[in-house]
């Protein structure tokens, strides 16, 4: 028995951070990202609408949603750009329709296409170095209006690459101040990115985006003079998680169960007292139940060397399924064994389930005060939810 080979030794992590201009409650920058599972593509758009506040928000939303959909169905950047520009409503004060955008389209082989219109240039960091892109200018002819130029760049991403999209709120931050009379600029932003990656080589998309936005905000002396947005796309080794639940149908396979846990190259969760006992027995380790902090709803978790989390089985797993189904956010939930699993699921890219199919007959006793579902069915449901709603890769193996 083996875990499925990872098809792509690189997965794409996308995240962004944003601060709105002044006290505006609605941002004039919009960052959108979508994974197209069948095509294994990820498309991200950062759009900056003219001005700030609601009106800019509407322009930017229109632009980014159209950008996503056009790239998805046509892939011709000039066509997408023309349609967007022709559709944008004209501002009543300035008598122009205007919204800038950067579009990044990553396909299943990590071929990247970057389409840009008037935004600060998208930065690509390979390791800590910012690399140059061969940009091609493409004319976009428009109905009744002057043609404009967009830039298109294609490149092959490598594991460890990061693509950083910034709005002009970042590149122009600090403008007019003594240390940065002409603003932070793209070059200095690039240097800052380099420093951040040198400091922490595996800095996540979210952490890097946060660092850049915070720095831009500080450049302004703790204000956002324009909407400040940064989106980061990070090509990294996928994070793997193992969830093992249930004793093997055939007791002879107990040894195999323990070997599977030991050999797994990622984080490990065991759900089920008997399962944990089997692993403990086979590996000569000890399990300790944490009686200290107890959630009244769920049995407590336990600890064992080499395992990241050990919980009770079916009640806890059932609760996790409910959290996933209700699209809860872990931060808003009480910390209990189920929320710990929930959090680890969301932080992983590939989730492998190993499900033992032996049934504890007592669980089927009709006198039980609660109905206990069959483990196999609950795991199937969790895996389907993770695939469909959370865009994770999953595998289930029965033992």
């Amino acid at each position: 028995m083996e875990f499925p080979k990872i098809m792509n030794n690189c997965c794409v992590e996308v995240d962004y951070r944003q601060k709105n201009c002044g006290k505006q409650r609605i941002g004039g920058d919009v960052f959108l990202s979508r994974k197209l599972k069948e095509q294994r593509r990820v498309i991200s758009v950062l759009s900056d609408g003219l001005g700030s506040g609601v009106k800019a928000g509407v322009l930017a939303t229109l632009t980014s949603v159209m950008g996503l959909n056009y790239m998805n169905s046509f892939r011709d950047p000039a066509k997408a750009a023309r349609s967007i520009m022709d559709t944008l409503p004209v501002c009543s004060e300035r008598h122009i329709s205007y919204s800038t955008f950067s579009l990044v389209d990553v396909d299943f082989e990590n071929e990247v296409r970057i389409v840009e219109y008037d935004n600060p240039p998208v930065l690509v960091a390979r390791g800590a170095d910012i690399i140059g892109l061969g940009r091609l200018q493409v004319q976009v002819t428009r109905t009744d209006k002057e043609p404009v130029a967009i830039s298109v760049a294609d490149f092959q991403a490598q594991p460890g690459d990061r693509i950083i999209m910034i709005s002009d709120g970042v590149s122009q931050s600090g403008i007019g101040s003594k240390p940065l009379p002409f603003g932070w600029g793209v070059e200095k932003t690039g240097n800052f990115i380099k420093e951040q990656i040198e400091k922490k080589s595996d800095i996540s998309a979210c952490e890097l985006a946060t660092a850049i936005v915070e720095k831009a905000w500080l450049n302004n002396g703790g204000h956002a003079l324009d909407d400040i947005t940064c989106g980061v796309i990070y090509f990294r080794q996928p994070r793997q998680l193992l969830i093992m639940t249930g004793p093997p149908y055939d007791q002879k396979k107990d040894r195999l169960l323990a070997e599977l846990v030991n050999s797994f190259p990622g984080r490990k969760i065991i759900c089920g007292g008997t399962t944990a006992n089997i692993v403990a027995r086979e590996t000569g380790r000890e399990v300790h139940v944490m009686l200290g902090k107890i959630d009244p709803d769920l049995p407590p978790d336990s600890i064992m060397d080499g395992i990241d989390l050990i919980t009770e089985g079916i009640l806890t797993v059932g609760r996790v399924a409910r959290y996933l189904e209700d699209r809860r956010t872990p931060e808003t939930l009480n910390l209990n064994p189920a929320t710990k699993i929930f959090r680890m699921l969301l932080n992983s890219d590939i989730i492998n389930f190993v499900v033992g199919t032996r049934i504890n007959e007592f669980h089927q006793d009709p006198n039980m005060p609660v109905e206990l579902e069959i483990r196999r069915n609950v795991i199937k449901k969790i895996a389907a939810l993770l695939e469909d709603a959370y865009l994770k890769e999953t595998s289930i193996q029965y033992i």
């Binding site: 007292g273 006992n277 139940v289 009686l291 079916i314 504890n360």
Partner: protein
């Protein structure tokens, strides 16, 4: 000095839903007279529900004695008698 009683509470699924959840609070509810005499630990499963001759969950082990249908009252009762 080792304690007189070592109480192991099963927190497996069957025990938990059959009333074991209340047993988790034993440490807080145990009468003061016994507080110095007991060591309370949890177990993720005592495997006692596998054999119906053991009786009904929840199960608690007190030293070598396996108590079926355990409750805080029954545990305290047992401690008083021994």
């Amino acid at each position: 000095m080792s304690k007189k009683f070592k109480i192991t509470i099963c927190s497996g699924t069957a025990c938990y839903v059959m009333g074991g959840a209340q047993l988790m609070m034993l440490e807080d509810l145990i009468p003061a007279e016994f507080r110095d005499q007991v060591e309370i630990v949890g177990s993720n499963c005592l495997q006692a529900c596998r054999d119906s001759s053991n009786g009904q969950p929840p199960f608690v082990r007190i030293n070598d004695y396996l108590m079926e249908s355990a409750s805080i009252a029954r545990i305290v009762d047992y401690l008083r008698k021994h």
